[in-house]
Amino acid sequence: MSAPLLDVRHLSRRFDVSKPWLNRVIERIPRVHVRAVDDVSFEIAKGETFALVGESGSGKSTIARLIVGLLKPSDGEIIFDGKSLARGLKGAEARRLRRRFQMIFQDPFASLNPRWRVTEIVAEPLKVFNTHKSDRERRKRVGELLSLVGLSPEDGAKFPHQFSGGQRQRVAIARALAANPEFIVCDEPTSALDVSVQAQILNLMKDLQAEFGLTYVFISHNLSVVRHMANRIGVLYLGRLVEVAPSHDLFARPQHPYTRMLLDAVPDVEMTGRRRKKVEGEIPSPLNPPSGCAFNPRCPFANERCRIEVPALKPWRGQPVACHGIEEGRIPDGPAQPIASVTAP
C-alpha cells in the first residue's frame, strides 16, 4: 500500500466539562474532563471508504470534527497527504489543503443556511476558494453540480426549507463537491432521513466516489449502512478503537466481543433463524469510565486482567484488535457463536 491519504496517530481529545469557576471554588470540586477520543490511530488509503461505527457517545462525531479541524486535538497527529493538520493551518498552505477536504453533516436541516438560496449555498466554496471568478461562471458550475446530485438547476432559486430532507442532503453533497475535494468526511449523512431515501443518498455517494475517486470517512451507527458503503471498518467503544478490519472480514469473522455483540443486534430481515443475544447494558459514562478494558462490565469473557489493564490495539491474524481475551486465546473463534450459545435455551 502506498502512503495513506489520511494518517491519524494517537489522536486524543479531552473536553473540560467542569462547573463554572465560582461553583468549583464554593463547592470545592476539582476540574472534570471527559476523554471523548482516547489514543485512536488509523490510516485511510486514497479512494477507499473507511467507516467508524459505535454507539452514541463513543466519540465518532468528535473524530470527524477533529479531522476537518473544527476541534483541536488534545494529543496526537492528523497527517493529510504528508502534512500535519493538527498544528493548525495558516496562509496559502491552509487554503490549498482546505480545498481538498469537505464534510457532509448529519442534519440537513441545520447544515444549510436558512436565509440563503441554494445557488448561494452551493456557490459558497467556489467563492471562498476563488475557483470560479465571475457570477456567471459560478452559476454555471452550480447548475452542473445540482444536475450531478439529481436536482434541477432551477432549484437553485429556492430556499432550503422548500426541499425535503433527502433533497437537502443532495444540496449539501453538491456544496461539498463544489470545489473538487478528494476527501469527504460524512458524519451520519443518512441517519436523519427516511429509510427509502437513505438508499438513494448512499447510492449517489457511491456513484460520486466512483466518478471522482473520492475518499470517504463514513461515520455511522447503522451497521447495514456501513456494510453497504465501507471497505474497512473501525469499531469504537467509549472513545477507543477496539477493532479495525476489512468490511467483509468484520462481518464474517468479528473478533472483539463488542463487535460480536453489535453484529448480533442487527435486525435479521432475512429471518435466518440465527440465535442471537440481545445487547446488554449501556455504554458507561465517559465521565467515570471503568478501569481496565472499558468494555469489561458488559463483556461475557471478562476476567481479572480485563478489569485492571487497558488492552492495546494489537494485530491478531492481520487485523488489529484490542482485547486481552483474543490475545490470550481465551475467546473462541467463529461468528458470534460463543455469545449466542450463552443464551441458548
Partner: protein
C-alpha cells in the same frame, strides 16, 4: 488548479443549464409572510399611517410649518398665550395657539418632532451598532470575552437607563468646553441614550448567536476557512436580525421617550432647539394658569409617536414569531 491534481476537475455535464439568478430583494420582500400579516392587521396599518404622517411632518417641517418659531424677527411677544383656533393680537391665525413667547405651537411641534425623531433614531442606531457587534463577538467567541461583555451589560441593566444617560450626559458636560456645549448637546444626547440602551441588543444578539454558531452551516463555512468576521456578517447576522428588529422598533419608542424625559428634566437639547420633551417642560409651567394648550398638544404628539412606534414593534414581534401564527 492542475498542481493540486484534484480528481474530477473536468465535469462532464457541459450542456447542463445555468442555475438561475436569485430574484431581487424587492420581489422577495413583497412575497413574504410579513407583508401578508401586515395587510391583515388594521391596528398596525393605522399605527404605521400615524407614524408615517408624524415622520413626514418632521422631515418637511421647514416647508409645511405655518411659521418659523425660531426666527426671532417673526415673533411677536404680544401674540403670547393666544388660545387654539383663534386670531392673535397681531392678526395672525394660530390653529393650536401660541406659547408665552408668541411662538406657534403647531410649528414648534413640527420642529420638535424633528429633533425628537433625529435623536431617537440615531441613538437607537448607535445602540444597535454597539449591541450587535458586542453581542456577536460575545456569542461567537464565548469564554472570557463573553463573560466580560455580558457582566458589563448585566451591571448596566441593573440601573435605570435614564440614570445611565444622566451620568454620561454629566461626564460629557465636564469634558466639553462650555463654548461648544450648545452645539454638541444633541450629539451628547444621542451618545448618552445610545450607550444606555445597547445592553438589550447585546443580550438578544448574544443568545441568538450562541444558538446559530452551533449549527452545521456555520461549521461548513469554518471548514472552508471562511474568516470569522465574514461568517458573523454573512451567515450569523441575517439569522439573528429578526429579534433585533423587534427590539429596535420598541427601542426607538423608548429612546424618544428617554430623550423627552431628559429634555423635560432640563438636561437635554438646548431651549433654542426644543424637542417635544422641551416643549412639554415649557408647557407644564403654564398648566395651572390655564394655558393648557402649550402642554397638551406636544404631549399628545409624543404619545401618538411613542404609541404608534410601539404598536409597530409589537406587530413585528408577532409577525416574526412563527409560533404565534
Amino acid at each position: 488548479m492542475s498542481e493540486l491534481n484534484t480528481p474530477g476537475t473536468a465535469v462532464p455535464l457541459e450542456q447542463s443549464p445555468i442555475a438561475p439568478k436569485p430574484p431581487g430583494r424587492i420581489r422577495q420582500a413583497l412575497d413574504s409572510d410579513i407583508v401578508y400579516s401586515y395587510t391583515r392587521s388594521p391596528v398596525t396599518i393605522i399605527a404605521s399611517i400615524i407614524a408615517l404622517l408624524l415622520i413626514l411632518m418632521a422631515v418637511f417641517a421647514p416647508l409645511i410649518a405655518p411659521y418659523n418659531p425660531f426666527n426671532p424677527a417673526s415673533l411677536n411677544l404680544m401674540d403670547g398665550f393666544t388660545p387654539p383656533n383663534s386670531t392673535s393680537f397681531s392678526g395672525n391665525y394660530f390653529a393650536l395657539g401660541t406659547d408665552h413667547q408668541g411662538r406657534d405651537v403647531l410649528s414648534t411641534i413640527m420642529y420638535g418632532l424633528r429633533v425628537s425623531l433625529f435623536v431617537g433614531a440615531l441613538a437607537t442606531l448607535f445602540a444597535m451598532a454597539i449591541g450587535i457587534s458586542l453581542g456577536l463577538a460575545a456569542g461567537y467567541n464565548g469564554g472570557t470575552l463573553d463573560a466580560v461583555i455580558m457582566r458589563i451589560a448585566d451591571i448596566q441593566l441593573s440601573f435605570p437607563a435614564i440614570l445611565i444617560a444622566l451620568l454620561i450626559f454629566g461626564i460629557a458636560r465636564g469634558l466639553i468646553p462650555p463654548s461648544q456645549q450648545e452645539g454638541a448637546a444633541v450629539w451628547v444626547l444621542i451618545v448618552a441614550i445610545g450607550l444606555s440602551n445597547w445592553a438589550q441588543f447585546a443580550r438578544t444578539v448574544r443568545g441568538a448567536t450562541m444558538v446559530e454558531r452551533q449549527k452545521d452551516y456555520v461549521s461548513a463555512a469554518r471548514i472552508m476557512g471562511v474568516h470569522p468576521i465574514v461568517i458573523l456578517v454573512r451567515h450569523v447576522l441575517p439569522n439573528v436580525m429578526g429579534p433585533v428588529l423587534v427590539i429596535a422598533t420598541i427601542g426607538l419608542a423608548l429612546a424618544i421617550i428617554e430623550e423627552a424625559t431628559l429634555s423635560f428634566l432640563g438636561v437635554g437639547v438646548p431651549p433654542t432647539q426644543p424637542s417635544l420633551g422641551t416643549l412639554i417642560r415649557i408647557g407644564q409651567q403654564f398648566l395651572f394658569s390655564g394655558e393648557w394648550w402649550i402642554l397638551l398638544f406636544p404631549a399628545i404628539t409624543l404619545i401618538l409617536l411613542a404609541l404608534s412606534v410601539n404598536l409597530l414593534g409589537d406587530w413585528l414581534r408577532d409577525a416574526l414569531n412563527p409560533k404565534l401564527r
